[in-house]
């Protein structure tokens, strides 16, 4: 394919609309006659609602209804799907299962009145003893299959003799690491607008997957899926929490049905902490050992993370240990415990980010023990094939990432020993870590349509999470159809469009990109065929192979050409369309597919205050074809900034007595902002990967976060000599 557009750093098509406010997020969609729903959530973590007094709220002007388990309509079906879906609490019973669980919804004619009414609801609950501490449930820890990369994976895997390997090494590290509960906190809160017309339901939802929302609501309300339409045109960040339809989505639809008016429902920032997931805490143990030359003799990675009482989510922190480094002996184990919390869920690089903190910290510790350069240690155990099953990698340029990163960063200037370099009174430290994320690919469909004016319209029901989907898929189609970028419109975010997979797992570019490619190619071939059989076409009678698409025309090797406009006019003036469909094939059985990268971080640590400033980060990534240099860079940049937040700030702190998260707003739940961030340089090395998917893309959304926190923690050790094994690295831990 010619790549006049693919790879170009086009600015995001939704960018202007977003900064000018023209973009309508789900909650902002104008729906006539809409009323407003505001959730009442539980203040306790476990128990039963004995009484719920809604009378004061109901007396207020403008209040249409206050719906709780007492008067909510009984859902005819179970609003739950197979796969990455979450069990919801849709006001169907009196049970309180976690703090901040939705227990009622106040519906009023204005948002303000609904807020006020929700405040007037009085709840009398019978409190039961709760547990939100992982430690208290460790004795009940159990293994569970892991939903990751679109398939179920075993919780435990082992090959070789890890115990023997650990003893055989010249040096060994066996340590425990912890990452805290984290909460996604996209800028746009969860929001749903639900509108019924008879037994047809239209929903505008802040979602990463309109098709799952559609199926779930259809199932819950006992209506055919084709009666439900779900639309998501703009999303203000999601990071995994909008990957499943949570309780409020079902409640919005339920309330709309009950008050017979469209209902708009958004969560407050407070309500984002608990009922809509988060990254679960992890308690991990890593044991690694190596020979003098750095060759690993064993890797063992174990993790325990909590889930809720009523649903299962496994933070798959130990998965990458299976694939990352060459070692004859590798073991990985996942355990979960049940707590009285809302179900945790996928959060950007689920498993890989928390797990890489532990594994890559342990590697750094091992290098220190061997008195070896941490980069040299990684090179000594560079995996030429996947250690899990011996499969070749479809492509792997990690070595080049290490080299280029080390060069750009100036790795050779790394202080040999902690506390040996200072800059304006602060200790300087440098650290590195490896990044790895699976190249996921799921079935996807797209439609490409040539319009009579010679421009193309391409669509797929995927979501643009702010990642650039609107932009990059138009680039792919433009190249396939031989059109300038401006002549291709790409539309998305509607369950009436061809089906796309969840916009998660860094697989949208690969999956939808491939479907767009296939659909556009099919359309081009159809147009070529149309020209060939058209006796009025200058291309009449030529062989398809002689014809290519270029500048809005079909051009033959002889130089003869036909324009799309003419072609369609002669064919009757109607748009011509084709659909395309892709799905993973057996290459997935033959190859191991991952994106790789290397992080390098420099920190300044104040010796007396313990404050850490990440002054510099360089990340070099190789993840297949880059569709748009600007949007890809933004993804890596975002991942690396997130790494700073993960390393230094993010922490959903539980009040264990009350069983709820205390840091329930952005003044207490800290993420890195511009002023916290020093210089960040994300780079990527292009790869040709003929096996991974038709688009040759491995995904960029999560890779940039994998290993980022570890690189910072390792730099902190290099600066101070203090090894912090429990995130976040707050100043008090360094004093």
């Amino acid at each position: 394919m010619t790549t006049r557009n693919v790879g170009q750093p086009f600015v995001r098509r939704d960018g202007r609309a977003k900064v000018t406010g023209e973009a309508r997020y789900s909650y902002e969609v104008a729906v006539p006659d809409a009323v407003y729903g505001v959730l009442v959530t539980s203040g306790i973590a476990k128990g039963r609602i004995v009484e719920i007094d809604t009378s004061a709220a109901e007396r207020e002007a403008g209040v249409l209804a206050v719906i709780s388990h007492k008067n909510a309509l009984r859902l005819p079906g179970e609003p739950h799907l197979e796969g990455p879906d979450r069990v919801v609490q849709a006001l169907q019973d009196d049970r309180i299962r976690y703090s901040n669980q939705p227990i009622a919804v106040a519906v009023a004619d204005t948002f303000e009145r609904a807020v006020h009414a929700a405040m007037l609801v009085r709840v009398n609950a019978e409190v039961a003893a709760h547990t939100v501490r992982v430690e208290d449930e460790l004795h009940n820890a159990f293994p569970h299959k892991i939903m990751a990369g679109g398939k179920l994976q075993e919780p435990d895997e082992s090959h070789g003799d890890v115990a023997a390997g650990l003893v055989a090494g010249a040096a060994r590290v066996e340590e425990a690491y912890e990452t805290p509960f984290e909460t996604h906190n996209p800028l746009e809160p969860h929001a749903t607008v639900a509108s019924w017309s008879g037994d047809r339901l239209t929903v505008y939802d802040a979602s990463q997957w309109v098709f799952a929302v559609k199926k779930k609501l259809a199932k819950g309300f006992g209506i055919p899926p084709e009666n439900v339409r779900v639309v998501t045109k703009f999303v203000g960040g999601a990071f995994g929490c909008k990957g499943s339809a949570w309780s409020h989505v079902v409640i919005a639809a339920l309330a709309a049905k009950q008050v017979a008016r469209p209902v708009k429902l958004a969560l407050s920032r407070h309500q984002m902490f608990g009922p809509v997931g988060g990254r679960p805490r992890t308690r991990q143990k890593v044991a690694v050992a190596a020979q003098r030359d750095g060759k690993l003799t064993a890797i063992r990675h174990e993790t325990v993370s909590p889930t809720s009482r009523f649903d299962v989510f496994v933070e798959a922190s130990a998965l990458q240990a299976r694939h990352l480094y060459a070692s004859p002996n590798i073991e990985s184990r996942h355990r979960i415990v049940r707590l009285d919390i809302g179900t945790p869920t996928f959060m950007r690089a689920p498993g890989e980010s928390s797990g890489s903190f532990a594994l890559e910290s342990a590697m750094d510790e091992l290098a220190h023990r061997l008195e070896m350069d941490p980069l040299a240690l990684r090179l000594a155990s560079y995996a030429e094939k996947d250690p899990a099953d011996g499969k070749p990698f479809s492509s792997k340029s990690l070595r080049a990432c290490y080299q280029e990163g080390a060069r750009r960063f100036g790795w050779e200037k790394r202080p040999r020993t902690p506390r040996s370099q200072t800059r304006s009174g602060q200790f300087v430290g440098m650290g590195m870590a490896t990044a790895m994320y699976p190249a996921n690919f799921a079935p996807a469909q797209a439609l490409a349509r040539m319009l009579p004016d010679g421009s193309a319209q391409v669509e797929s029901g995927t979501i643009d999470l702010g990642t650039g989907a609107y932009t990059v898929f138009a680039q792919i189609a433009a190249d396939e159809l031989g059109l300038p970028f401006e002549k291709v419109r790409f539309d998305l975010g509607d369950s009436d469009m061809p089906e796309a997979p969840i916009a998660a797992g860094s697989m949208t570019a690969a999956s939808v990109g491939s479907a767009v490619l296939v659909a556009s190619r099919a359309l081009r071939d159809r147009l070529i065929r149309t020209a060939i059989v058209d006796s009025a076409s200058p291309l009449h009678g030529l062989a398809p192979i002689e014809i290519r698409a270029e500048d809005g025309r079909l051009v033959a090797t002889s130089g003869k050409s036909d324009s799309y406009v003419e072609l369609i006019r002669r064919a009757g003036g109607k748009p011509i369309e084709e659909r395309g469909k892709t799905a993973p094939g057996d290459e997935r059985e033959k190859f191991s597919m991952h994106g790789f990268g290397a992080h390098f971080a420099e920190v300044l640590v104040d010796p007396d205050l313990g404050t850490v400033h990440v002054s510099r980060m360089v990340g070099v990534f190789a993840t297949g074809r880059i569709l748009n240099a600007r949007t890809a860079r933004s993804q890596f940049l975002g991942g690396m900034v997130w790494g700073i937040g993960m390393a230094l700030h993010e922490h959903s702190v539980f009040d264990e007595k009350l069983g709820r998260i205390m840091t329930r707003d952005l003044s207490d739940y800290h993420v890195a902002v511009n002023a916290d961030v020093g210089s960040i340089e994300p780079l990527f090395l292009e790869e040709e990967d003929a096996h991974v998917d038709p688009a040759g893309v491995k995904g960029a959304g999560e890779l940039g976060l994998c290993g980022a926190a570890a690189a910072i923690a390792n730099a902190v050790f290099n600066a101070t000599g203090k090894r912090i094994r429990e995130l976040p690295i707050t100043p008090d831990k360094l004093l």
Binding site: H116, S268, L609, M662, D668, H670, V673, P731, D732
Partner: protein
Amino acid sequence: MIPSSFDYHAPATLAEAVALLGKYPEDAKVLSGGQSLLPLLKLRLGQAGHLIDIGKIPGLEYIKEEGGMLRIGGRTRESALERSEIVQKRYPILVDTAKVIADPIVRNLATVGGNLAHGDPGNDHPATMLALGAQVVAMGKSGERVIPIDKFFLGLFRTALQPDEILTEIRIPAPVEGSGGAYVKLERKVGDYATAASAAYVVIGTQGFVERAGIGLTNLGPTPIKATAAEKYLIGKKPETAALAEAARIAAQATEPSADRRGAVEYKREMARVLTGRALKKAVERAGGK
């Protein structure tokens, strides 16, 4: 969240504003930049029946030196203070302070008068003003009065302002030969309220001895703290490392921090010591004493 309902007044003169405050005793609040008041109302931690917006009253936003004093209009914004040439040149401690308050968006709205009048021990200006020995001008029904800053902060969110008084000006003694000040803040991340912070101001005489010392501490007790024992200790001393360290140690003794998400009591007290040491060192440097 949404505040409970209130009436909004935008008087055009100071007299009118004072009269309105008098008209609704107990139930009216001055609205300045709104950066503390509005969050409070929205979270329903507070309530007011009437908000008296002083933003339409001309002549409350200025920064000028006059009569041996820096005069800052009560409604002067933090961003104006930060950008002021006089302040940058002659009062670097004020720049230190303003630039670590929240973020630029908040500073475009938040005012210096509001920062003091709120009586929040977590705000940054009080410590600086305590160190500098500032005065606050208040206008009420019975006219204008001048309140020394060390008589201003009475308790948590309580100041010497009467309910019908408006803070119209802050006065800071102009720098003298050999004077210097600095503000040093520890925050969990950029834009956060202080875990601990310290303001220091010194005047070093021609003989090289400390003639005047001011030390103010942020978020280390129920009110902003003036570390008087440490100030006294420094008088007559050469501002050398050991003396500054001892003063910092004494200052830390004056703190009464409470344990919270920002840290434990001992941790905060220790940070008060480290920060005061640094603020003093920087103040001495700025005073020209090496």
